[in-house]
């Protein structure tokens, strides 16, 4: 199957959703998302059978820009995450009253399209275009369908947009510079460039600003919590589940192989930053009162570790990063969904106003608990695989990194269980709390099953991504 079909499906899906009218928009979006998921699955099967789905056609002759897509295991894994989560995310708002439904879902589909493009693009320019494109829908989603008063969220979403946009522009400058050197934006041409260490240093930094803001890495995270809080939950899921993976993916795909010497040189600094983020995020999370902000900081801690893994420059660290990206994507989407369920029932996001739900909604409580434990990397869940890989990668660089990075398993348990206790446990709440319904059950069920299945049998994914990572590491060396 041609790789462009996938992108076209999503793009057409976005358009079809827009034109489908308010009533059927969600259904149309869902069906296209599911089709995209199936296509991804087919692509992965083809990939495993040795079929090369790379695609390249000239877009602009001068400057030399191609529409080039590279569907190796690494990209496909993330596309899979994307196309798996998108239907779930759409389902998560099933039946909810949303104004201008068609526009809303069209934006969601468009964002999925852009993110898929980002993962697949192997021409730096095309990649950048997709990267920026993904920003626009989420901006509108957060702005128009977000929480709180319009004024309040306007400010926040604004900051988010400007901040991330600012970061990515520096990346653009980096790309342009590379283009001047290589005469092409193609991935391998950039890989094969011989840059002086000073050039690498600057290229690395210009990329790093973009990624550090997107991921976000401490101290570039200030947009995160408030944006997560203000965005509608679907938006938050898209942001945390998929979009920040764009940054992490880009580190592996673009930044490290292109500026490998600089990466090696700057590794200690960046690892320290990442690990500070891990600890800092955990500690700040402890004191959050809003459940969405809480998850935002937990996310900060987790992605800090992922980024640290990626910057170890070892295959194990990279593999851990990719696995944990997928795991974190699944888990955080699940967690935000639980926050949404809580909000739907209680109409509040304050942790202090919850509690005593477990007896009322045992299914929900169990699913939530599994997600909580998945989030803190309990063995047997997928997160553990990722976390172990990451920490092992870190330990190969220096045991201290692994030790401090590993505090996440202590602090993570600390804040997560504390939150779970406060939201779910305790004397039965006087307010009624309906247990999850069917669609909610499907969403949570799929996530839980994925998390546990991959935790026990991650081999398909590992085998999918490892060859690509080995190749990338060979460019780093």
């Amino acid at each position: 199957m041609n790789i462009t079909i996938l992108l076209l499906t999503l793009l057409i899906g976005a358009l079809a959703t827009y034109f489908s009218g308010k009533k059927s928009a969600a259904k149309v979006a869902l069906s296209f998302a599911v089709i995209a998921f199936i296509e991804t699955f087919v692509l992965i099967c083809q990939h495993n059978s040795g079929f090369n789905a790379d695609y390249s056609v000239e877009w602009i002759a001068n400057p030399n820009i191609h529409i080039a897509l590279k569907a190796d295991g690494l990209a496909l894994a993330l596309v899979l995450l994307n196309t798996l989560l998108t239907p779930l995310i759409i389902l998560s708002a099933w039946g909810k009253h949303i104004e201008k439904t068609n526009i809303f879902y069209a934006l969601v589909m468009f964002m999925c399209f852009a993110m898929t493009g980002t993962f697949l693009a192997s021409d730096g320019f095309l990649y950048y275009v997709f990267w920026e494109l993904a920003l626009i829908p989420i901006y509108f989603i957060a702005l128009l369908w977000g929480n709180d008063t319009f004024e309040a969220r306007k400010k926040t979403v604004f900051k988010f947009f400007i901040y991330t946009f600012a970061g990515s522009l520096f990346m653009l400058v980096g790309f342009i510079y590379l283009y001047q050197k290589a005469g092409s934006f193609m991935l391998y041409d950039l890989y094969n460039l011989n840059l002086s260490s000073k050039e690498q240093y600057w290229i690395f930094l210009s990329f790093f600003i973009a990624y550090a803001i997107k991921i976000p890495i401490f101290p570039f995270h200030t947009w995160q919590a408030s944006t997560y809080e203000k965005a509608p939950t679907i938006g938050t899921m898209l942001l945390s589940g998929i979009m920040l993976k764009m940054g992490l993916y880009s580190i592996i795909r673009w930044q490290l192989p292109i500026a490998s010497d600089a990466a090696r040189e700057l590794m200690p600094t960046i690892l320290v930053l990442c690990i500070i983020g891990v600890i800092y995020g955990s500690i700040v999370a402890l004191k959050q009162v809003n459940i969405k902000r809480f998850f935002a900081y937990s996310s900060l801690a987790h992605v800090g570790l992922i980024a640290a893994g990626a910057y170890t420059l070892t295959t194990d660290g990279l593999r851990g990063a990719v696995l944990q990206m997928i795991a974190h994507g699944l888990v955080i989407v699940g967690l935000f969904f639980t926050a949404e369920i809580l909000y739907k029932r209680y109409n509040t996001r304050l942790i202090s106003e919850m509690g005593g739900i477990r007896q009322q909604a045992p299914k929900f409580a169990s699913a939530f608990m599994i997600l909580v434990f998945a989030s803190i990397g309990l063995p047997g869940t997928f997160s553990f695989i990722g976390e172990f890989n990451l920490l092992y990668g870190l330990s190969q660089v220096n045991l201290w990194y692994a030790l401090f990075g590993g505090t996440t398993i202590i602090l993570g348990a600390f804040y997560m269980l504390r939150m779970y206790q406060k939201t779910m446990l305790g004397e039965t709440n006087s307010k009624p709390f309906a247990d999850i319904d069917k669609t909610e059950g499907i969403v949570l069920g799929v996530i839980v099953i994925c998390v546990i299945f991959l935790g026990i049998y991650p081999k398909p994914l590992t085998e999918l991504i490892t060859p690509s990572l080995v190749e990338i590491v060979s460019y780093i060396k």
Binding site: I60, F125, V173
Partner: protein, 458 residues
């Protein structure tokens, strides 16, 4: 050359139509005529020839820009129909003035002789003075005309003095000859002084800092259609001319020239953007954003000689975005005293099409991918980096996201769910919708297929 003549003829025909009372025919006739001329020009884009003793030189550069000007004029003339509804008796005057303005613009990019340059500049300027003051009972229109007139003629004086000095140094008005002489022999300081003065004059025209003060005031006071002309057609003309002049006059100038230009570019970018942040009048906002765009286009001066495709691309992207934005502005603010940004509140509900057109225009100006503005910036940045002006690019980047800030502010207001702005639907003349849509479509198409424009140059 034929283009120029044809436009002149068309202008005269318009005046004749007035005399024989065929006012209703004026606009359709002009649009069709201009379309024909546009077709002709585009078909002959590769004709490189000098006419009338080297007075008028058509090159790819000039032909491409002429086509762009004609296209913009078509839009402007088409918009005139609804804009001058209340003064329909004067429609022929207005249209013919626009055609004359177009002639001036074409002279400015195609000149082969300083006389043509100067006359083109004056035709352009004087027409604009008139158009600015056309709404004569409106004191704002008067004021803008006056300000523009005083500063404009002051700048003309400087340009003229510069031309005189260059003539003194080289003994010629022929731009090719001047260029040759400048390369081959060492010239008295008059030459450099003259060139500087001409360039200062052109910097005034493109509204570069510190010669930019007139722009926001004049933009705001002038009738909106005139503002449209100024911010699209005239700005592009000025920048193209500045580029052409610089190419011909500035080679073999000391490094300090480039430094000065880069410095001016940077402060133009920065001042334009910073000033735009706190504006509450849409026209002023677009004026300041126009200033910063002029700064972006001035980046082309870092690669004299090779930057013309990039400049052309950016100019096209910018001018069509401006066209789209002003079309929406006219549609929204047609009955308002002021063009406050608040009048855009809730436009997403009141007229979604207009809101989307404006969003596309603004996002394109802000440099969001797939819209043409992004590629424009990209090409210019790319070329600046190629020539080693990384500082300039970094300032460009910083300014890009400052600009996004205020563009988004407008977009937000349009899509805001303000309860109190649940006003009734906004009725928009069909022509406005069509023109806005076409302009937006051009932005997107040009963005997706940049080669369409870039290939005009090879």
């Amino acid at each position: 050359m034929n283009t120029l003549i044809a436009i002149g003829v068309l202008a005269v025909l318009v005046l004749i139509a007035e005399i024989i009372n065929l006012r209703k025919m004026v606009i359709p006739m002009t649009v069709i005529g201009l379309l024909g001329i546009l077709g002709y020009t585009v078909c002959n884009i590769s004709v490189v020839e000098a006419y009338y003793n080297n007075m008028f030189v058509s090159t790819r550069f000039s032909n491409a820009f002429s086509s762009l000007f004609i296209a913009l004029t078509i839009f402007i003339v088409a918009l005139s129909n609804d804009f001058y509804k209340n003064e329909f008796t004067k429609i022929a005057d207005y249209v013919s003035l626009k055609l004359f303005l177009l002639m001036g613009a074409i002279c400015m990019v195609s000149f082969g002789n300083m006389a043509m340059f100067f006359l083109g500049l004056e035709i352009l300027s004087i027409t604009l003075y008139i158009l600015c003051g056309a709404d004569r009972k409106n004191i704002k229109s008067n004021e803008s005309a006056m300000k523009y007139f005083l500063l404009g003629s002051f700048a003309s004086g400087i340009v003229l003095f510069g031309i005189a000095l260059i003539y003194g140094a080289t003994g010629s008005f022929d731009i090719a000859q001047i260029s040759n002489i400048a390369v081959s022999t060492s010239l008295p300081v008059w030459y450099a002084l003259g060139a500087t003065m001409i360039i200062i004059g052109m910097l005034f025209k493109v509204a570069a800092v510190p010669f930019h003060f007139w722009a926001p005031d004049v933009y705001q006071g002038a009738p909106t259609l005139t503002t449209t002309i100024m911010s699209t057609l005239v700005k592009v003309t000025a920048i193209a001319t500045l580029y052409k002049i610089s190419v011909n006059l500035l080679h073999q100038m000391p490094e300090s020239y480039m430094n000065a230009l880069i410095f001016i570019t940077i402060i133009t970018l920065t001042v334009g953007n910073i000033m735009a942040i706190r504006q509450d009048n849409m026209k002023r906002l677009l004026a300041y954003s126009g200033i910063s765009h002029a700064g972006f286009m001035m980046m082309a001066l870092t690669a004299l000689g090779s930057a013309s495709p990039n400049l052309f691309y950016y100019a096209t992207a910018y001018s069509f975005a401006g066209m789209a934005a002003f079309t929406v502005l006219m549609a929204v603010c047609k009955n308002n005293e002021d063009e406050l940004i608040s009048s855009f509140d809730g436009l997403g509900k009141r007229n979604p099409l207009m809101a989307i057109v404006l969003s596309i225009a603004l996002l394109s100006m802000g440099g969001i991918p797939v819209f043409a503005g992004f590629f424009g910036k990209f090409f210019l940045f790319s070329q600046a980096i190629q020539n080693g002006y990384i500082t300039l690019v970094i300032f460009g980047v910083i300014n890009s996201f400052i600009s996004i800030y205020y563009y988004l502010k407008v977009i937000i207001r349009m899509f805001a769910n303000y309860e109190e702005t649940n006003r009734e639907k906004l009725a928009v003349p069909a022509l406005y919708s069509i023109i806005g849509t076409i302009a937006a479509a051009i932005i997107i198409v040009v963005g997706l297929f940049p080669s369409l424009l870039l290939n005009l140059f090879n």
